[in-house]
Each structure stands twice: as structure tokens, then as C-alpha cells.
Amino acid sequence: MIYEVTIAGKTHKVELSKGESGWRCKLDDREVPLDVTSTREGVFSLLLDGKSYEVKQENTATESNIVVGHERFSAVVRDPRSFRSRSRAGAAGEGVKKIIAPMPGKIVRILAQQGAEVEAGQGVLVVEAMKMQNELKAPKKGILKKLNATEGTPVEAGQVLAEIE
């Protein structure tokens, strides 16, 4: 099977097939003699040219990360065979940026009203969690099209709070 993997801003083609003694891996069409063993769910022990790597998968509410040793990489994996459905989702997002709650908490203040024009970096709302107030800012200049937030209501991590177009 073939995947498109975006790591640290670079997109790679990864080709995997089940060989006789485990996985055969190609990275950008280059054969990689990787020895793969799953030690527990979400954790691989990898050997490559004798070097040993412990790799963990981590899915939070808002991110998918791959942790190699103690370095964390944000990862996006696409299966080209499911491209059609993906591109549709992508199209809907064209030009729109969302503000997503980075943690569960409570909305304590709304700083910009729906329909208002906001500058990139301008505070839009304030979420409180663990005794700390955190201002969420506009990711780009534009119109605050949607604002799914009212003061005093709890929010979940990953919840879309606002959209800017």
C-alpha cells in the first residue's frame, strides 16, 4: 500500500508491503531495510542499519504526532486511494481558517463579534482552564464568519469555536 506522509513540512511517499520476514518499506522510492516490531499498541521498536529507535504514535484531540525517541513530529497521513473524499473535505475549507479549542475549558470572554473584521493575531475569545486564561487569536485577517461560542459555556478540546474567511 502507498501513503503520502507529511512530516515537518515535507511530504514523502511511503510504500509498504508485507514481506516474508516482516514489512518491506520504501521511502520516496528508496528501499529502506527497516526491521519493525510492535512492542505495545501505538509503540514500535525499529532497527535500521543497527540503530535502535523507539517510536510512539500519539493522537490528541487536535493532533496526530509521531514521537521518535523524544522528538515529536506532527504527522499527516493520506491514503491516495481515498483521495476523492479527502479533496472534497479540503474544498470546503478553502480560504477559511478555524479557531479550535486547544484544550477543554470554559469560555470566559468573547472579544470580537460575529461579522466583524479581524486582524491576524487579534484576540477573538478567551478560554479558561486550570486557573489560567488563554486568549485565542485570529489565524488570519478576515471576516469572523461563524462564532460558535457563548460566554460561560464549557468547550471540548478540538471544538471549532470560530471561522474566519
Binding site: 529502506v32 514500535f44 490528541t60 521518535v68 497521513v77 475549507g93 488563554n134
Partner: protein, 510 residues
């Protein structure tokens, strides 16, 4: 010794005290708020009782409910931990009135040390060295006069203060008025008390504190120092013992002053006298914390004593089982406070479910943890998860050991400050012990909070791994992460969770 005590706290410190109880043959009683039913301290204790809703003020700060619970289950004493009610003299008094021993100093000593200005007066009477400044609340004209006398820069502080609130640094005379008024109104809002005072500002001080311990028979000893200069916004982040700049002579002088301070306040049980130390190793009394400190483990490791055992023994009326000359410092200990917060994103707190927890172990590693894999860190309390402590024969080895332990540590599902520690422990100034209370803030403005990613081809490994995880994902994994398994025919093509995440990534704000 007591037969049963109640621990009026949660998290790692509740677990720490419960462990001490078990070791001493004392029954332990936990209390918990509605969101803490599944917390670690509840299942580790011998008994556990609900005390109210999530909001601390209705549960962990609810004196009446806690004392009532203690009475009902027959607990003879209450250990307050740190935070919450631990420095509340009213609570200590209420315990006494209810016939329950408060494991800590007498309320009178707590009250004295709780007021910065009263403490300052008492300490000055006891010949404790002080940062030059006023010893009581000031009016603006008095402040201007004092500042002129001791010289700028000066620091304005709230009399009832703590945690940096109501504090203002003033470098020149024209700035004083506005800073004074801001500090007053901040103090009013934070503590319902607008009284402020003024001190000479020590440039780049180190924060060094002395652990003291007094029994109820008049003996007070000091157990050496801890250096807590690595702070972010006045919150300690890394602590160590001993301090690299404290030698035998300075330790003895600071220790004797700390014992004097404790004795003059009629202090018993465990307490900490905090000092600022300037570049010439002059030390100045800062405040006394009338409770067990978060960072007490580093003292335990270098002295060999168990401070919680000693707290319980002292509170039950025993004499200190050793004298000052029996206290010796051996080796070096470093503690990292592990928080659920995102050092790469303004230290936003990061409550949520801990999906994976791989903890370090082996020689010289101690972990005092309050969490477990699968637990959801609630958003209602302090985000401290755990304290990781490394002990080794010397400072260099302790740093190396802590770095090794951090490499072994993995917390999945929520953000933590583990990467921050790696960066601090690699910093040449930290390694050379060139630290002061501004060290970390300077380090943080100088770049990203996490160690710079190395360019050793790990991203290739990550890319391959990401694909491998996608190829081996099971339907159960997708289900658990919230995505449906409707994708059906599972022939190894990327889990639906990955796809969902990919979309979220693509759309997310930068």
C-alpha cells in the same frame, strides 16, 4: 502514632502522604471531589469519601465538610499537603476546636508568617537579615521616601500577597506613583487587601531556601538548602539540593538563621524559610512557608530522611529522632515538576486523557506521581501531574541521570512540559549552575521552549512510522479515538482516524 488520618488534598501529594501512612501502619482517609472519583489517591487510600463538586471552594477548600468527614470516620489528624488549606490558620484552628490534630505548625505561627509585614517585623526582631525596605504597609509619600533612602531599583509587593500578584518592579523615581497604584489595585482585587510595601530590588538573585523541622519539645533543626532559581513567572520549575553556591559555612549560617526564625515564631513541624541570595552570596529573608513544600523530595534524597514520616511523628508528639550534628548532605538531587501544559504554545494548560504513560525507572530515579495511564486530567485544578527526581553522587551525574530519565519518559494524549526540561538541562548556564530567578524567562524569550529538533534523519523514521501505524491500525483503535469503523473492509488502508486528523490538520489555524 495516630491510628488513622485524613489527607485533605489530591494529586501526587495525597498519594505521597498515603504511602507514608501505609509505611507507618496508619490508616489513610482520602477525600475527593466529584471529578476526582477515579483519581489515584482515591484507590490508593484505605478509605475515601466524597466532599462535594469540582470547584475547589466547594470541596477541597470546604473546611466544614472536611472536618465533618474526619470526625465521622474517626480520623485523629489531618494532613493538609500543600496548597488548598495547608497555610490556612483558620482551618488549623478549626481542626483543633474539633479535637483533630492539624499536621503542621500552630495556627499562631501560620498567622504570623501569613502576613508579610508582621512576619517581617518579627523576623527583624529575631535578627534575621532582610532586603532593605519597609517593614509595614506604606502610603505613597512614605513609599517615595523609603525608595529614595534605599535607592532604586525597588520592588512593590502586596502585604497579603503571593504568586507574583500585586508585585511591581520600579527602576526610577518617576515610575513609582503609577506602579504603586497599580500594585494596590491588583492587591485589592486578588487578596481583598490593598496594603503594599516596598523593598530594594535584588538584581538576578538566586532563590535558596532552608528546610526546617521542629518537634513539640522545643527542638528545631535545619536540613540543608534547596535551590529553586529556575522559575517561570515566580513559579518554581526545577529544584535541586544542595545549591552549587552554598558551602558548609554558608549552609550553617543560613541554617542557623532559619532555625532562629522558626523558634521566634514558635514554629513546629516542617517549614521552609526562603531566602534571596545576591551575587556576593549575601542572603535575605523572603518568607516562610508553613507547610511541606512541593520540592521536599530533593532534601529527602540528600539527607536520607523521610519528611512526611517525620511530620507524622512530630504531630503525634514524638521527639525529633536525631540532632543537628546527625544531619549530613550526601550526593545531589534534582526535581522536575511535570505539568500538563504546552511549552510551545504559551504554556496553555492541557487537561485531558492520558492515553499512554511510559515512566522512567532504574538507579537514582524517584517519581512521585498522581496520575496513571487512562486517567483524564481534570481541568479544575493545578496542572501538576508528577514530580520526577534524580539522585546521583554529584550535580553533573544528577543532570545526566535526569536527562536519561526524561528520554525514557513518554506521556501521550496531552501536552506536557517534558521537552522544556530537556532544553533547560542542556543549557550551558544551567550545567554550569549560572542560574538566577530570571534564567528561565531569559531562556524562553531566546527561542522555542523545546529543544531544537536535531537534523539527524529522524524525520525519515517518523515518516515511515506514520505510514506503518496507519497500515497496522485496528478498527478498535479507530473506535476508541472517536471515529466510526464504518470504513468497513479493513485491508490496511489508513485508518479513518488518520484521515479525520488529516482534515483537522489541514484546516486548523496556524
Amino acid at each position: 502514632m495516630f491510628k488513622k488520618i485524613l489527607i485533605a488534598n489530591r494529586g501526587e501529594i495525597a498519594v505521597r502522604v498515603i504511602r507514608a501512612c501505609r509505611e507507618l501502619g496508619v490508616s489513610s482517609v482520602a477525600v475527593f471531589s466529584d471529578v476526582d472519583r477515579a483519581a489515584l489517591h482515591v484507590s490508593k487510600a484505605d478509605e475515601a469519601y466524597p466532599i462535594g463538586p469540582a470547584a475547589a471552594r466547594e470541596s477541597y477548600l470546604n473546611m466544614e465538610k472536611i472536618i465533618q468527614t474526619a470526625r465521622r470516620c474517626g480520623a485523629e489528624a489531618i494532613h493538609p499537603g500543600y496548597g488548598f488549606l495547608s497555610e490556612n490558620a483558620k482551618f488549623a484552628r478549626a481542626c483543633g476546636d474539633a479535637g483533630i490534630k492539624f499536621i503542621g505548625p500552630p495556627p499562631s505561627a501560620m498567622e504570623l508568617m501569613g502576613s508579610k509585614t508582621r512576619a517581617r517585623q518579627a523576623m527583624q526582631a529575631a535578627q534575621v537579615p532582610f532586603v532593605p525596605g519597609s517593614s509595614r504597609g506604606l502610603s505613597l509619600p512614605e513609599a517615595e521616601e523609603t525608595a529614595a533612602r534605599i535607592g532604586y531599583p525597588v520592588m512593590i509587593k502586596a502585604a497579603a500577597g503571593g504568586g507574583g500578584k500585586g508585585m511591581r518592579l520600579v527602576r526610577t523615581a518617576p515610575e513609582l506613583k503609577s506602579a504603586f497604584e497599580t500594585a494596590q489595585s491588583e492587591a485589592q482585587r486578588a487578596f481583598n487587601d490593598s496594603e503594599v510595601y516596598l523593598e530594594k530590588y535584588i538584581e538576578n538573585p538566586r532563590h535558596i531556601e532552608i528546610q526546617v523541622l521542629g518537634d513539640e519539645h522545643g527542638h528545631v533543626v535545619y536540613l540543608g538548602e534547596r535551590e529553586c532559581s529556575v522559575q517561570r513567572r515566580h513559579q518554581k520549575v526545577i529544584e535541586e539540593a544542595p545549591s552549587a553556591i552554598v558551602d558548609e559555612d554558608l549552609r550553617r549560617r543560613m541554617g542557623q538563621v532559619a532555625v532562629q526564625a522558626a523558634q521566634s515564631a514558635g514554629y513546629t513541624n516542617a517549614g521552609t524559610v526562603e531566602f534571596l541570595v545576591d551575587a556576593n552570596r549575601n542572603f535575605y529573608f523572603l518568607e516562610m512557608n508553613t507547610r511541606l513544600q512541593v520540592e521536599h523530595p530533593v532534601t529527602e534524597l540528600v539527607t536520607g530522611f523521610d519528611l512526611v514520616h517525620l511530620q507524622l511523628r512530630i504531630a503525634s508528639g514524638e521527639k525529633l529522632p536525631f540532632r543537628q550534628e546527625d544531619v549530613a548532605i550526601r550526593g545531589h538531587a534534582i526535581e522536575c515538576r511535570i505539568y500538563a501544559e504546552d511549552p510551545e504554545n504559551n504554556f496553555f494548560p492541557s487537561p485531558g486523557k492520558i492515553t499512554r504513560l511510559l515512566q522512567p525507572g532504574g538507579p537514582g530515579i524517584r517519581e512521585d506521581s498522581g496520575v496513571y495511564e487512562g486517567w483524564t486530567v481534570p481541568l479544575d485544578y493545578d496542572p501538576m501531574l508528577s514530580k520526577l527526581v534524580a539522585y546521583a553522587p554529584d550535580r553533573k551525574a544528577a543532570i545526566a541521570r535526569m536527562r536519561r530519565a526524561l528520554d525514557e519518559y513518554f506521556i501521550g494524549g496531552i501536552k506536557t512540559n517534558l521537552s522544556l526540561f530537556r532544553r533547560i538541562l542542556e543549557h550551558p548556564d544551567f550545567i554550569a549552575a549560572r542560574i538566577d530567578t530570571g534564567f528561565l524567562d531569559r531562556l524562553l524569550v531566546s527561542g522555542s521552549a523545546s529543544a531544537a529538533p536535531s537534523s539527524n534523519g529522524l524525520s525519515d523514521i517518523a515518516a515511515l512510522s506514520a505510514a506503518l501505524f496507519a497500515a497496522t491500525a485496528t478498527p478498535a483503535q479507530n473506535g476508541r479515538n472517536g471515529a466510526g469503523t464504518a470504513a468497513g473492509k479493513h485491508h490496511g488502508n489508513g485508518s479513518s482516524n488518520w484521515k479525520r486528523t488529516a482534515r483537522a490538520e489541514a484546516l486548523r489555524s496556524q
